[in-house]
Every structure is written in C-alpha cells, then in structure tokens.
Amino acid sequence: MENITINIVNTIGDRYGVEAEDGQKVFELITTAFSDQKRVNLSFQNIEMLTTAFLNTAVGQLYKDYEEIFIKKNLSVSNISESGKVALKRVVETAKLYYKDPDALKRSIDEIIKG
C-alpha cells in the first residue's frame, strides 16, 4: 500500500484547526485516500491551535465507518504538539466508545428523567 501525507495547514488554509467545518475537509481527504488503498500520514506541522470540535470531525468520525484495527494500520500522525496529542487521544477514545454504543447518550437522558 502506498503512503501519502495530508498536510492539515494546506488542506484547511489556516494554522488554526478549530472549526468543525474545516475538520470535515480533512476527514473527506482521509476517506478518499483510504478508498484508494492509501496509508495516510496526517501532518500537523505549523498547526498552532486545535479544538476537539475540529478533531472530532477530522478524525473522530472515521470510527463510524472503519474498524479500529484498520485505522491503526492505515493512519499515523506527525509533527503534532503535546497538547494536540492529548486532545487527539481523547477524541479517539471518545469516538471508539460512542460508535460502540450509540444509545448510551439516550440512556443517560432517561436516567435523569427517572431520577
């Protein structure tokens, strides 16, 4: 399988990876590359600010369509800041749980109603 690099700054045209809409652009490139049998390296070089909202759409939603083992094998990251790494790990762990049990949120509402 061929390796390609997706440069986030270039993809979103910004050093701030903060808006969910921009995350969607990154997500679409990753899925296109995966469909074309490419391994993806996501480069965070020169990214100065990240929000979890951006990372949720860029990376988190991959877990809806792809198995964890597939993502582990075909996606890597580089040049990410320490705080970015912490945020990304948290986004990934949240996504894994969310797609394993999408009804958990509804149950948490029901629990409040039941008191």
Partner: protein, 287 residues
C-alpha cells in the same frame, strides 16, 4: 424605564438582565429607556448587547438615559457604546478586550480578534502570563466559541472580556441568542429536561447532541482546565444557572428566561502550573 445597578458576574446580576429582557420582550416599535448605575463588569457587555439586540430586532429604540461616568468610560473603551451612537475612547491602560458582535460564520474574524486582543495585544503590559497558560486560555475560549457556532442556531455571537490586573484575572464572556441547552437536548432526544438538568447533562464528559459524530469533550476539557487554573465558569441558558469554581458546583433557577446562552469564564493569569509538560502519550499509539 429599567435600572441596572451593580452588574457583575453574580446570579443576581444575571437575574437583572433576564428581568430587563422579560420586561420588554413583547415591545414593538417602542422606546426602551435604560440606566446603568454604580458598577458594570465590562465583559458583561456581551450579555447586555445580546438582550438589547433582541429589542432592536423588534424595531425598538434603545435610550441610555443615565450611565455612571466611570462605567461610560469603560463601555466606551471596550467599544460597546459605539454600537449605540457614542464616541470610542482610547484605552490607555490596555485592560479591555473589545466587545464584538459576530456572525457564526465569522470564524476568521474571531481568530484575528483573539490574536489582537489576547495573544499579541497586551504583551508589553499587564498581565504577564506564561505562554502555556495563555495557550490554554485561548484554547478554552475557542472551544466555547465553536460550541456556539455548532449548536446555538443563533444569528449572532457576542463576545467581550476584561483584564483585571489587580486581581490577576481575565474574564471572557461569550453569548448567543440561540435555542439554548434545554431546547437543543430535548429536541435531539425527545426529552423534557429542565434548563438546569440540560446544562448539568451537557457539562459531563462525552455528552453530545450531534448526530452520527462523537463529541462532547469541549466543556469537560474546559472544566478540567478551570479546576487546575482555580478559575470560574458560569453558564446561563434559558432559566438555568450553572457555576463551577473553587467553591464547587452550583445549579440554580432564574425567574424568567435568558433568550439564549451566556458562558462567562474567569481565568487566573498568575497561574504557575506548567501546561507545556510532555505527555506520556506515544504518538504511535493514538489510534
């Protein structure tokens, strides 16, 4: 005529703003007279601006019949009163973070606002924050702004802040006039939660109303940072009030409803924690 007296970041002050809104929300083509006395926390301009804009959208005329001179100076320095026909004043102490009214799609303007007002502005003067703390504060403010963009369904987002060098704090307030936590959650899950129940649900980790996309981390991350920084966060949404700070958590109900959501953040600028420490996360073990 409505008098706003000693408006700060307290439950009672938010109640005064809600009462102002409730008193005039049904008015159309009227003259609304407001007086501001004694004290007005500059950052709360964001919330007052949102309420007055609701009145403006009903084609009412706003008249400031009296503003205490000191308050008028501050609200002229932070640009708030320039939206109401007053002249801008120069902020020689450089402690204001300007009042801004943005469309949710104005993310790029918000970025230059944050850079000018928080990152590059105020570098030569007060307060001197460590780079790590400044980055965490900006990150927290962004999480809230993006939340308002995604969830509020508001036409505008109002922001304002203030440095308090003597207290070593920054206050920053983000306000929208959208559907609020209660409506958003109840629509998504077909539930009937109260505003306080809805806020309390949303601030827990991994709670999101988004469909098919995981999330709900932003508010939890903010709360963790506020806890380490020994700051304070407050959420006013519909008739719900939530506060988290050194004194713990507080949930209360207002008389009447705020027409949207206020998030008020207080950060300590003399925080000595090193937030740039290397994490133990292996870059090859993220997925």
């Amino acid at each position: 005529m409505s008098k706003l007296i000693s408006i700060n970041n307290t439950f009672e002050s938010y109640q005064s703003l809600i009462t102002l809104y409730e008193n005039y929300k049904a008015e159309l083509f009227s003259d609304i007279h407001v007086e501001i006395h004694q004290f007005f926390a500059a950052n709360i301009s964001a919330a007052l601006g949102a309420v007055l804009d609701k009145f403006n959208s009903n084609l009412n005329d706003i008249h400031f019949d009296y503003i205490s001179p000191q308050i008028e100076t501050i609200l002229s320095k932070n640009d708030f009163l320039t939206y109401y026909g007053k002249q801008r004043a120069v902020d020689v102490n450089n402690t204001t973070i300007k009042f801004q009214k943005l469309k949710p799609t104005d993310g790029k303007y918000f970025k230059s606002y944050v850079i000018n007002e928080l990152i590059e502005g105020h570098t030569s003067d007060l307060p001197r924050m460590s780079a790590g703390v400044k980055e965490k504060i900006v990150e927290a403010i962004y999480e809230i702004f993006v939340n308002a963009q995604i969830h509020s369904e508001s036409k505008f987002i109002y922001t304002c802040g203030q440095f308090y060098p003597n207290k070593n704090t920054i206050e920053f307030t983000i306000v929208d006039t959208g559907i609020g936590f209660k409506e958003k959650i109840n629509r998504r899950f077909g539930s009937n939660l109260s505003a306080t129940q809805a806020i309390n649900w949303a601030i827990q980790d991994r709670r999101t109303t988004k469909v098919d996309i995981s999330g709900g981390i932003g508010l939890a991350v903010l709360k963790e940072f506020i806890s380490m920084n020994k700051g304070k966060m407050q959420i006013v949404s519909s008739d719900g009030f939530y506060q988290f700070g050194c004194d713990g958590e507080l949930l209360r109900k207002f008389e009447g409803e705020f027409p949207g959501t206020i998030v008020n953040l207080q950060f300590r600028t003399n925080d000595k924690i090193n937030y740039s420490l290397k994490s133990e996360i292996d870059i090859n073990d993220i997925f």
